[in-house]
């Protein structure tokens, strides 16, 4: 009988192979999902294009997201804000028609959140805008997007890096951002 380990390894190889392949499969599958179905750019009820508004027409962010500079939440513009322009502008395009239909029925548009923070996070837009943080820092180059997608990973690490870099006062104290 052989005492050497080599023989045993040879015997075990097929099983090992299978295990290995399965592992590789796992990893591939995981990242395949993460890359091909990231869910960072959801289908919106109206495919509003930030590229056209913020990019080509150079409309400043705060023109529509008025709340951002004085409230914790940036807020989305109300329909009558949209209609303010779109009673004249591009009234014939199908998407604007869709918008108008919402306007007639006075129904709110169920936008889908792209940048969503957990309930236990306290984030105030007001402070960050007063600190002259570019919207793009967290929201990515929105003005270039037709469909908004979450570019930067809005995770605790992102916040902390920035807070450390800018030496925010007590910027790394848990209760600065957590509630």
């Amino acid at each position: 009988m052989s005492v050497s380990i080599i023989h045993t390894l040879r015997v075990l190889r097929p099983a090992a192979m299978i295990a290995l392949v399965a592992l590789i499969g796992l990893i591939v599958g995981f990242y395949a999902n993460a890359t091909f179905f990231p869910g960072t750019s959801p289908e919106q009820p109206i495919n509003f294009s930030h590229r056209i508004h913020a990019g080509e027409n150079q409309i400043p962010c705060m023109y529509c997201h008025v709340q951002a500079r004085r409230s914790i939440s940036a807020g989305v513009p109300s329909i009558n804000k949209c209609m303010g322009c779109h009673l004249e502008v591009a009234t014939e395009s199908p998407q604007i028609r869709l918008l108008a239909s919402y306007w007639e029925t006075k129904e709110p548009i169920p936008w889908i959140k792209v940048h969503d923070l957990p309930d236990f996070v306290h984030f105030t837009h007001k402070r960050h805008i007063q600190a002259d943080i570019e919207c793009q820092t967290c929201h990515g180059p929105v003005e270039t997007m037709d469909v908004v997608s979450r570019e930067a990973p809005v995770k605790m690490g992102l916040c902390l890096d920035c807070h450390r870099k800018n030496e925010v006062e007590h910027g790394t104290d848990c209760w600065t951002c957590h509630k």
């Binding site: 309930d119 236990f120 306290h122 007590h170 848990c174």
Partner: protein
């Protein structure tokens, strides 16, 4: 090695007496037991402000109450000379808090406001802080709580709803402190004015038994009250250096 050095350095810093002087505020609450009537307004105010769940009769029967401030009652003497005294018991935000040393993940620690924090989303629920706390003011979420619709519409958006398996406790209404600081910043002030921030319990106390403020500011109401000869700490012998100061009840005995 370098890591060890850094660790020891911060350790020594922490152990240095007066460590908390370097902090911005030292939020303090004083409770005048001579004024307290035990009415329980503070309890409900706290429950309303901090999204404290409705536990239900069954679970309360099993001793899972969640109210962050409770009124303890103690009898002295027998009929007809029986006397009842009340003492509101809430997190004392100790400067030498036993709970802070024991938490393995630092979910509870002392922040720059002299507050004893509780970071719900960091908590892993060993519950050792509750064991170490001599005041029994830490409450554990034994399961996910729910509110019968539409009661959930009342929930305070500035305070999160705690998930099952986390410890929670009085925060001195940190959301209000945060807001007060926010206002101060807007007005270009460096510090919050005395009396600008009041936790829900203090705000509602009908007999004005409670006051709240920063004891670093010598002119603040709390600083004055702390110099009252009636001032004392509950369980002083444990040397936890609480931030809640009680004023002794005056016993005006009939002669």
């Amino acid at each position: 090695m370098n890591f060890i050095d850094r660790f020891m350095a911060s350790w020594r810093k922490y152990r240095k007496p007066g460590y908390y002087e370097e902090f911005d505020y030292a939020w303090t609450m004083t409770i005048d037991l001579d004024r307290c009537t035990g009415c329980g307004a503070c309890v409900t105010a706290c429950q309303a402000e901090n999204n404290i769940p409705i536990v239900g009769e069954k679970e309360l029967g099993r001793g899972r109450e969640m109210q962050w401030i409770r009124i303890e009652r103690y009898w002295e003497g027998e009929y007809p000379n029986a006397k009842l005294s009340f003492i509101p018991m809430l997190c004392q935000h100790c400067d030498a808090a036993p709970c802070e040393t024991v938490c393995p993940v630092s979910a509870t620690y002392h922040n720059q406001d002299g507050l004893n924090t509780q970071i719900y989303n960091r908590c892993i629920g060993t519950r050792s802080c509750a064991v170490y706390c001599p005041y029994e003011v830490r409450y554990f979420n034994y399961y996910d709580h729910h509110w019968d619709a539409p009661l959930e519409q009342q929930l305070n958006p500035d305070v999160t709803v705690r998930e099952k398996g986390v410890m929670e406790k009085c925060t001195f209404c940190v959301q209000r402190i945060r807001q007060a600081k926010d206002h101060a910043k807007d007005d270009g002030r460096r510090r919050v004015k005395d009396g600008e921030v009041q936790p829900a319990c203090v705000q509602t106390c009908p007999s004005e038994a409670m006051t709240f403020g920063d004891r670093k500011d010598a002119n603040s109401v709390v600083a004055k009250k702390m110099n009252d000869p009636r001032a004392y700490h509950v369980l002083e012998e444990t040397n936890t250096l609480p931030s809640v100061v009680y004023l002794k009840k005056v016993s005006a005995n009939a002669d």
